[in-house]
């Protein structure tokens, strides 16, 4: 299975050749703009596509402005069947610790100003029928949100690399780019969210719409607003977070490729 990795937190700081044999970066023009990729060949010989969501060299665009439409469209165009991504996120669940990894099993979408579908307008019968036809045209039916074999591959790779990794959790996606207020975090915690970030929506919905299988790795970078007081002020956003996530994602991609 051809895997494409969407790199999140600190991906823009990484030297890809430190992790795999890296080809020349290239761009794909899509109906929604340009997407940038690098082809990677793992030590085990798996061919993997890589895209850094937030740009190259520096945080060029915050999570609210990632061009998910171009990235997902281009991944599909390049033949990817599975997307593995990583996301920095804030912790809500008291059992988490900063530095933990979590492979979410569900998403609570609280974004407000994004485009959720390749269909041209707001959901209606015709758009839904088109959506279903397109999804059915691909082998297998896309899962509701995350594809279990890819989730299991990420979990196994993270465990093998010695991470404290959690197998379940609801990811709440907020609009940003501002952080959340304390009352908003309390609301999301009450609704069952374990972690909060700004990236996964609409990426997961767009991937499903194009028939791509999807799983994600959440890196707990800090406590969500108002929770640091009872837990810790620790913050982990550095290149080591991106490096750890890329190693896990590459190992999972290798396992899925064979």
């Amino acid at each position: 299975m051809r895997v494409c990795i969407f790199g999140g937190t600190a991906a823009y700081h990484l030297r890809l050749e430190d992790f795999a044999r890296a080809g020349e970066p290239f761009a794909v023009d899509t109906p929604d703009g340009r997407a940038h990729f690098t082809g990677l060949t793992t030590a085990g010989g798996a061919q993997v596509l890589f895209n850094s969501r937030h740009g190259q060299g520096a945080l060029e665009r915050s999570a609210a402005f990632v061009n998910h439409r171009a990235n997902v469209w281009a991944a599909r165009h390049l033949g990817a069947e599975v997307i593995l991504s990583w996301n920095g996120c804030g912790a809500l669940d008291a059992l988490l610790s900063v530095g933990d990894l979590l492979v979410p099993h569900d998403v609570l979408d609280q974004t407000r100003a994004r485009r959720y579908s390749y269909a041209p307008s707001t959901p209606n019968g015709a758009a839904q029928a088109r959506w279903r036809r397109r999804a059915d045209a691909l082998p297998g039916t896309p899962p509701p949100v995350f594809w279990e074999p890819a989730r299991q591959a990420l979990l196994a790779a993270a465990r093998a690399q010695g991470h404290n990794v959690h197998a379940w959790g609801v990811y709440a996606c907020t609009e940003g780019p501002r952080l959340e207020s304390r009352a908003e975090i309390a609301m999301l915690a009450g609704a069952g969210a374990a972690v909060v970030g700004m990236t996964l929506s609409p990426e997961v919905w767009l991937a499903a719409e194009l028939g791509l299988r999807y799983a994600s790795l959440c890196a707990v970078t800090n406590w969500a607003t108002g929770l640091a007081e009872q837990h810790s002020n620790a913050r982990r956003f550095g290149p080591e977070v991106g490096a750890a996530c890329l190693r896990v994602a590459l190992a999972a991609a290798e396992a899925l490729a064979t």
Partner: protein
């Protein structure tokens, strides 16, 4: 130049259109208690009002709005000065920094403590109490809340459902303004309007605010984007060159 701006719908007196990159706001400049003051009527785009405040030289923005009581302790004619909020607005612009990466603007404390303290100096009356804390739910304007929404927002800890406070306050923080909200309770949730925010009540609030607000800022609101500036992602007069 006014260091203090007030964002409020329909101030009494004549306002002049004030052009911003996000359409016109309406501005009325006054002197009150020896202090220059800009009363700003928000435009159609929530980005216009806070931008006008910044362009007029303001460092502080008080947002005056009306709301419905979710908390049954509140009565019409009360003032609530929230220290936290839940933004339930949607679809509109939420930031001045589209298509860029500036990191995150912290929302704790959600509003400027100094400006809130100055607003809290307003003298209470038996029928017009001042609550110096609480959670404001920014309702999706302009329709009234449904009973189900009121029930849900009350469950979230919301004390008032209000219109106009967000996303204006979050936008003002991106402009590194001090921002605080004074919400005037006009009805109970689900009920018909029971009170109107009248000019004398606004004057009472403004007089107390002007008298109590220290001349110099002692808070961290002016540094909301310091991290982005430190790494060179933001120019000195970045807000002047914003466009739609």
């Amino acid at each position: 130049m006014s260091d203090l701006a007030i964002l409020m719908p329909c101030p009494s007196g004549a306002s002049a259109p004030y052009a911003t990159p996000f359409g016109d706001a309406h501005v009325q400049e006054r002197v009150l208690g020896g202090r220059a003051l800009a009363l700003i009527e928000p435009g159609d785009d929530p980005r216009a009002g806070p931008w006008a405040a910044r362009a007029l030289g303001a460092t502080r923005l008080a947002i005056v709005c009306t709301g419905a009581a979710l908390n049954r302790l509140l009565r019409p004619l009360d003032w609530l000065l929230p220290d936290d909020y839940v933004d339930q607005t949607r679809g509109g612009p939420t930031t001045y920094f589209t298509e860029r990466g500036l990191g995150y603007v912290q929302q704790s404390p959600a509003f400027c403590p100094e400006l809130r303290a100055a607003l809290a100096a307003m003298p209470e009356r038996p029928d017009a109490r001042v609550f110096d804390r609480g959670t404001l739910v920014a309702a999706p304007a302009p329709r009234p809340e449904t009973p189900a929404e009121a029930r849900w927002w009350r469950g979230l800890g919301g004390d008032v459902a209000a219109w106009g406070a967000q996303p204006a306050a979050a936008l003002a923080r991106e402009l590194e303004l001090c921002v605080a909200v004074a919400c005037y309770v006009v009805r109970a949730a689900g009920a018909a309007d029971d009170a109107w925010l009248e000019a004398p009540e606004v004057e009472r609030l403004l007089a107390a605010l002007v008298a109590a607000l220290p001349a110099a800022r002692g808070c961290a609101c002016g540094e909301a984007l310091a991290a982005a500036r430190a790494r060179g992602a933001l120019e000195m007069d970045w807000w002047k060159v914003l466009s739609v």
